[in-house]
């Protein structure tokens, strides 16, 4: 039972009763204490590790809303507008024009050896190309007129394909599937909207669907987290409940000593929109929990209740969308949601509810109120995740009900301008992700990336909450900015709290896991605008060092 004492320039614990120190003593993966060397020496013989003496140690970040898809995306060429860090530490550049897109796809195409293998790429988002003609098969035909190409959009709801992809899948203009985009002359334009149309190009669609279940996707997910200083990460939408093979895969990989991440997997109890026998699923879930291991945990269940704001499919209340057509839709029958929630609440299973629209969120809040009246489990920590348009009245009510929020602060940067100009208009764009209001009203909150929708990176997510800056230079809602300390709290202990893991991770305290994020600079001291630029050395997980790639 050897003891290691890590020496750092500064250790920020996020433990209010012992806020900082210079040394942390670790035994068997657990923290003995944080303080000065002399305060820790009493634990007995130790080895002093000075490799972080120029670094800042903070609790390993807790990402409370991400998906293994972030790892799956690493396995396909990235065509997004913003540059993206890859698992190997390198950076894929952002694609700012169709010309760049074509040349990047050509480059990816050249790497394929089998002439029949489809080229499948991800991350394209037409919202960043306003005023340009919609991307069509003709641009992609310039990449190759023989190899089928499938370009999945960032939203996951659309794809653009080239002519050979249509032809090889037998998709013709005579097909009546509504999501098949058409030119004015009735010919197909290569855009596929929504699953029915996307499924018409099976040879591309299947690759995207299958990639997230590969071992490499899981490994890359771990690597990406490590690169970002994350030691506990949700896979918020796992399928272990309904797919035993996937469970085996997760168990095997998380059991490897070199896998640098604790996975908190939130399973989806049923496919979105489908009802199911939820009491039976709650029982299955209790059984699944018995299969937890050190790095694979099942803290709760996730429900998806609506779509997205930028897709106009989030259900928002009056006065509705600022421009564009309202496709707001619930994925549950309102009267039935209590029946979905009840079996889990009764079995003391934490529930995270995807609500992008505030009307959807109202349903979630009202339903939790009903359930809590029936069955007073007060420490449920049920969480509204995304919660982007949370109103002040909702925050007041959430505080009383013990509901947590998990704000999608990365939206402020990635879609903030679009929300201001297009989707919800100035007032609501300024009060998106209302972190300061949540703090004032006493709602415990975390902030998240929803990776792979946006990249894993807790420092970036903090940066968004602290600065609320958009790419055009707007500050969205000065009054909703929070301090770097509060932002750090949101990506550590408050994230752990809503996963019911705050007694184990999220702060550096005696008896808790020795999970560190090792940073080059102090996020509480640097210019707030440079928080996202702080270099991450890597992590320590249960006392084992994992250096970031690159």
């Amino acid at each position: 039972m050897s003891i290691t004492i890590y020496q750092a320039k500064k250790i920020i614990t996020m433990n209010p009763s012992n806020p900082q120190g210079t040394h942390a003593a670790v035994r068997d993966g657990l923290i003995l204490g944080v303080g000065s060397l002399s305060e820790l020496e009493g634990w007995g013989e130790y080895e002093l590790d000075t490799s972080f003496s120029d670094h800042i140690i903070v609790p390993g970040f807790v990402e409370a809303h991400a998906h293994v898809m972030a790892g799956g995306m690493m396995l396909l060429p990235y065509m997004g507008y913003f540059e993206r860090k890859l698992a190997d530490g390198s950076t894929a550049p952002g694609i700012k024009s169709y010309a760049e897109l074509i040349s990047a796809l050509k480059e990816a195409e050249a790497k394929l050896t089998d002439p029949d293998e489809p080229l499948v790429a991800v991350g394209f988002d037409p919202i960043y190309f306003p005023g340009q003609p919609r991307l069509s098969r003709h641009e992609l035909d310039q990449v190759s007129s023989t190899r089928p190409i499938y370009l999945q959009h960032a939203s996951g709801h659309l794809a653009t394909v080239n002519t050979p992809m249509l032809v090889s899948n037998g998709v013709t203009k005579e097909m009546q599937v509504e999501g098949l985009g058409r030119q004015e002359d009735g010919e197909l334009d290569g855009e596929l909207r929504e699953p029915a149309a996307m499924g018409c190009c099976k040879t591309g669609n299947r690759i995207v669907q299958g990639i997230n279940q590969t071992e490499q996707a899981l490994r890359d997910f771990g690597a990406l987290a490590c690169n970002a200083g994350i030691t506990t990460c949700t896979d918020l939408g796992g399928a272990s409940l309904i797919a035993p093979k996937l469970l085996d895969r997760w168990q095997n990989i998380t059991a490897e000593a070199s896998f640098p991440l604790r996975i908190a997997q939130y399973n989806i109890p049923a496919m979105p929109g489908a009802s199911a026998a939820f009491d039976q699923i709650a029982d299955q879930f209790v059984a699944l929990r018995k299969q937890e291991s050190e790095k694979l945990r099942f803290p709760g269940i996730k429900f998806i209740l609506d779509g997205s704001i930028q897709g106009f499919s989030a259900l928002i209340d009056e006065p509705g969308y600022y421009s564009g057509e309202d496709h707001g839709q619930l994925l549950t029958v309102p009267e039935q949601f209590a029946d979905w929630l009840r079996p889990f609440h009764r079995a003391s299973i934490n529930v995270h509810m995807h609500c992008n629209g505030n009307l959807t969120q109202q349903l979630a809040i009202d339903t939790v109120e009903k359930i809590v009246r029936e069955d007073p489990w007060l420490d449920h920590r049920h969480t509204i995740t995304h919660a982007q348009l949370t109103t002040q009245a909702q925050l007041r009510k959430m505080a009383r009900l013990g509901l947590c929020a998990n704000f999608f602060t990365n939206h402020l940067w990635y879609w903030g301008d679009q929300h201001y100009d297009i989707t919800v208009g100035p007032e609501r764009a300024n009060s998106l992700e209302p972190c300061a209001s949540a703090l004032r009203e006493g709602v415990s909150f975390s902030i998240h990336s929803d990776a792979g929708v946006t990249p894993l990176g807790s420092l970036h997510t903090m940066w968004c909450a602290v600065n609320r800056l958009t790419p055009s230079g707007r500050v969205l809602g000065e009054v909703e900015k929070i301090s770097p300390y509060e932002a750090l709290k949101a990506v550590t202990i408050s994230g752990a709290y809503q996963l019911h893991l705050d007694h184990e991770v999220g702060s550096l305290e005696a008896g808790k896991k020795a999970d560190f994020a090792v940073l080059q600079e102090d996020p509480l001291v640097v210019d707030p605008m440079s928080i996202r630029d702080i270099k991450v050395w890597g992590t320590v997980l249960a006392g084992t060092k994992h250096q970031a790639a690159g």
């Binding site: 097909m175 509504e178 309904i242 489908a274 009802s275 619930l330 549950t332």
Partner: protein, 320 residues
């Protein structure tokens, strides 16, 4: 091609009752071959009533009936469920998917254009007592309105629970909201099966079924004469909302067989030159055969007679 019907409608409107009626009506005629091999894709088995004697085999997600019908749950998702059905042998004749109460039925119906499927209809059930209220509900108003507008045929159920005058009001309100989607009324979703499934080629069996049903009426027409496609298209376009369902098998001027399929607002003419199939009338003495179904008292048979006569006249004009 396998017929594909999307069955939509909000929670509690009677979708499951309708599915139970379908299973009951379709049973048990497995041996004589007249029974359709129907696959139901449903949310859960909880409310489906199946006589235990008819169950041949059962798994968590699938019940196989002795007559070839199959019930599948959508637990693994819609796409997987359909793929499983298409891989089965023998394949079903018709797939009905029960949409969730808030589903976008139009989106779901798009699957009916893929591969081996052929979209037969989008049927949306509405609860006569609550549909108006739900169409203004703060959470689901837009969803309900979208569902009703997307329907080929609305089944206004539980009409026995409201006043007769209110039925007329509701029908008028629905007509305005949906810009004329035909409305069939029902009690406990008791409707003729030929409203949902492909009508028999010859009118007799349809007439038999319809005449046994007090709320429905049918009309049929047959003649050895042939018709032109153009005249048939005119006939089809003139069909308005009193005709809930219509099928025609017609031999055209060049001897090809045309099939007219109408389910409410969904109206299709298909040419079947190469493989006439079991509906073929080419060798028979009959050149035009038409069957239509509507609500008793609403189906305008005189108008249909006139339209059929026009169909002949217009065809003759071309011929001469």
């Amino acid at each position: 091609m396998i017929g594909f019907t999307v069955l939509g409608g909000y929670l509690g409107v009677g979708k499951t009752t309708l599915l139970n009626n379908i299973l009951r009506n379709n049973l048990p005629s497995a041996e004589d071959g007249s029974s359709k091999r129907i696959a139901l894709l449903i949310n859960d088995f909880g409310d489906i009533n199946i006589d235990a004697k008819l169950i041949q085999s059962q798994t968590d997600n699938q019940i196989n009936l002795a007559n070839g019908c199959v019930c599948c749950t959508l637990t693994d998702g819609f796409t997987n469920a359909v793929e499983t059905l298409l891989e089965a042998s023998p394949k079903p004749d018709h797939i009905i998917v029960e949409a969730s109460g808030v589903a976008d039925v139009n989106n779901l119906s798009q699957y009916g254009h893929s591969d081996e499927l052929k979209l037969a209809s989008i049927i949306v059930v509405a609860d006569a007592e609550t549909v108006r209220e739900k169409a203004h509900d703060k959470y689901v108003a837009k969803t309900i309105q979208r569902q009703l507008r997307s329907a080929d045929l609305i089944l206004l159920n539980k009409v026995d629970l409201i006043d007769e005058s209110e039925v007329d009001n509701l029908t008028a309100w629905l007509a305005e909201l949906t810009e004329g989607v035909p409305v069939a009324c029902s009690v406990k979703c008791h409707v003729p099966m030929s409203l949902i499934f492909d009508l028999e080629s010859r009118g007799n069996s349809v007439n038999e079924e319809i005449h046994a049903h007090e709320h429905y009426d049918s009309w049929s027409f047959s003649t050895p004469q042939t018709a032109t496609r153009a005249a048939l298209e005119t006939f089809m376009q003139k069909l308005d909302s009193h005709v809930l369902r219509c099928k025609g098998v017609i031999v055209d001027e060049s001897g090809d067989q045309l099939t007219l399929q109408v389910v409410g607002n969904r109206k299709v003419i298909e040419r079947q030159a190469s493989d006439p199939g079991p509906d073929s009338l080419i060798d028979g003495a009959v050149g035009i055969e038409l069957v239509a179904i509507g609500m008793a008292g609403a189906l305008d048979t005189a108008k249909l007679d006139t339209m059929a006569q026009d169909l002949l006249n217009n065809s003759d004009l071309v011929a001469s």
